[in-house]
């Protein structure tokens, strides 16, 4: 059996008696891009900080590639690279100096080829000798990504890497993340841009009130919980809707020629067409729109009780 890149078992954390993380367990397979999502205050950053070593573990265990992150912390910290949500910089130094320091803190000599690749891919070249205080917000974020990756971590943690950055950097970043993932780096990311998570992540875990309320493959999660909105254009306007359609939440629109409804799971578009046929309502055209992760996310975080529920 392959050793997980990250194995979290019954992880707990309290701040001043208030639980922030409540006994969560999950593991990440090497080579995966794993999304940890949740509303603000769900416990994502606390979890990430416990993995990275910024926050003490309240209870439970964390293993990184089979190493205990308390007992073997010198090894696990070298295996992990973390880009924090908050912009963390040292205003005294330039990008160039700080990158050198950062490799040194990890006990490694800078690999010049890798360093050059990071600088080029993140567009840091023209700014290498600027002190941090003179960098724009976007450049600071780019620098933080380079810093997190300089020591060649096997597990890269990106906590809201695209928060407040422009579209161009988001594209550059995700393209680069995919590239290093293909080369074998495992990725754990959090983001509030759920469309990005849907496109990037192989699996998604959703945290809410410190608990894990969903964990499955991104496609399966959307498929299982996502609804499908349908607009039916009728050949002949109807004056009212039959009870069977009203039971599915349908509404009449467009002077009686359009029916709008959201297919309740497990009903399919085919089931709707069969029903319309039985009701002798001929269809001129039909539009469907599958709900994305955003709707799924809103749905399950709304449904989850404040004191948590069983992880999905």
């Amino acid at each position: 059996m392959t050793t997980p890149a990250l194995a979290i078992l019954d992880l707990n954390k309290q701040y001043d008696g208030q639980p922030a993380v409540k006994g969560i367990s999950f593991s990440i397979t090497p080579g995966e891009i794993f999304g940890l999502l949740g509303p603000n205050g769900a416990g994502k950053s606390t979890t990430i900080n416990m993995i990275a070593g910024v926050t003490r573990i309240g209870g439970g265990h964390i293993e990184v590639f089979g190493y205990d992150n308390r007992r073997d912390y010198r090894t696990t910290r070298r295996l992990v690279g973390v880009m924090h949500q908050e912009v963390v910089i040292d205003n005294f130094f330039t990008i160039d100096q700080t990158l050198k320091f950062h490799a040194g803190y990890y006990g490694v000599r800078v690999d010049p080829v890798w360093r050059q690749r990071l600088i080029e891919r993140l567009g840091l070249g023209p700014h290498l000798h600027k002190v941090m205080i003179k960098l724009s917000g976007g450049l600071k974020r780019r620098f933080m990504i380079a810093k997190a990756m300089l020591h060649k971590p096997k597990l890269l943690i990106l906590d809201e890497p695209t928060a407040g950055v422009d579209v161009e950097l988001r594209h550059t970043l995700w393209e680069f993340v995919r590239e290093i993932n293909r080369e074998g780096t495992t990725i754990l990311l959090t983001t509030h841009y759920l469309e990005e998570a849907e496109q990037m992540c192989d699996r998604i875990a959703i945290m809410h009130h410190g608990e894990l309320i969903a964990l499955e493959a991104t496609g399966a999660l959307v498929e299982r919980l996502g609804t499908r909105g349908v607009i039916v254009h009728l050949r002949e306007p109807a004056s009212s809707l039959p009870a069977e359609l009203l039971a599915w939440g349908a509404q009449l629109d467009g002077g009686g020629s359009t029916v709008r409804l959201t297919l309740p799971p497990p009903q399919t578009t085919g089931d709707l067409l069969d029903l319309l046929g039985r009701l002798e309502m001929p269809v001129a055209d039909l539009e469907t729109k599958r709900a994305g992760l955003e709707e799924v996310f809103l749905q399950i975080t709304k449904d989850a009780p404040a004191n948590g529920g069983e992880p999905g």
Binding site: Y15, N49, A52, G53, V54, T55, R56, F65, Y67, D72, Y73, R74, T75, R77, R78, L79, V80, V82, H84, E86, V88, I89, D90, N91, F92, F93, Q97, K100, F101, H102, G104, Y105, Y106, G107, V108, R109, D111, K147, H151, K152, K154
Partner: protein, 262 residues
């Protein structure tokens, strides 16, 4: 423990890098960290060496300038060792960039020693420059040169620890300044930099023995001039005990990541 998936690990490099960064930090703002304290000490030397000092005599066989120079050198060492550790670590905590260290394989021992040695280097550098400037005003006999170095190193080490401890307990720039203004400065000024404790009334002299700075300053002066209020053994022994106690305190705080990790 090593992992074959990782680049070659150089165990001493995290410590050396943090030490190097700390040294570069104070060199980068040398006008504040090195030049200002040296100018302050030079002004004291001018006042007490070339002006008032010519009219004062507190220690038989020595001019007042010769008496005060050891205290001024040690004051530079103490102030700057303390300030370096305290301001650098507190700023890292305050600005949040301490996380850059917390996520790395730095051990608590490497962490504390890197901050300590950088602070000692700044303090001792200021001390050496103050001594060089003092040569314009008076020369000292250097009665016990090795003990002079030992006391200066001990003082810089001790106040580097105090700086680390202060940086951990301070909650704001105001509270950091309070440690400096209400603890460090009174201890220095009342610790015998400008006068021998022996000329104080008995009650004040007795009280001065509770001031830990008195032992450091007296020991350092004793090593330089060959005379002091205390025996050198007492001054050295008390100083080393204080240094060990503060080191243990700082080591416990850093070892437990007190106020560093949430």
């Amino acid at each position: 423990m090593s992992d074959p998936r990782l680049p070659e690990f150089i165990p001493w490099l995290p410590f050396y890098t943090l030490f190097q960064k700390e040294v570069r930090r104070f060199l980068r703002v040398a006008s504040q960290t090195l030049v200002t304290p040296v100018i302050t000490a030079a002004l004291y030397l001018f006042i007490f060496g070339a002006t008032l000092g010519t009219r004062i005599s507190v220690l038989e066989g020595f001019s007042y300038a010769q008496f005060v120079i050891p205290g001024l050198i040690l004051m530079g060492v103490i102030n700057n060792s303390f300030s370096n550790a305290a301001s650098s670590l507190f700023m890292s905590r305050y600005l949040g960039n301490i996380v850059d260290l917390l996520v790395t394989p730095l051990t608590p021992a490497q962490f504390i020693m890197a901050y300590t040695l950088a602070a000692m280097l700044r303090g001792l550098s200021v001390g050496v420059v103050v001594w060089l400037i003092s040569l314009f005003f008076a020369t000292l006999p250097w009665a016990h040169p090795l003990l002079v170095v030992a006391m200066a190193v001990l003082a810089s080490f001790l106040f580097a620890q105090f700086g680390i401890i202060t940086a951990i307990y301070a909650n704001s720039f105001d509270s950091l300044a309070m440690y400096t203004n209400f603890i460090l400065l009174p201890l220095i000024y009342l610790g015998g930099v400008f006068y021998p404790i022996s000329i104080l009334p008995p009650a004040w002299a007795g009280l001065s023995h509770l001031n830990p700075l008195f032992y450091l300053i007296d020991g350092f002066r004793h090593a330089l001039l060959g005379q002091g209020d205390l025996s050198f053994t007492t001054a050295f022994a008390v100083s080393i005990l204080m240094a060990l106690a503060l080191f243990a305190w700082a080591a416990i705080l850093i070892g437990r990541s007190y106020r560093l990790r949430t």
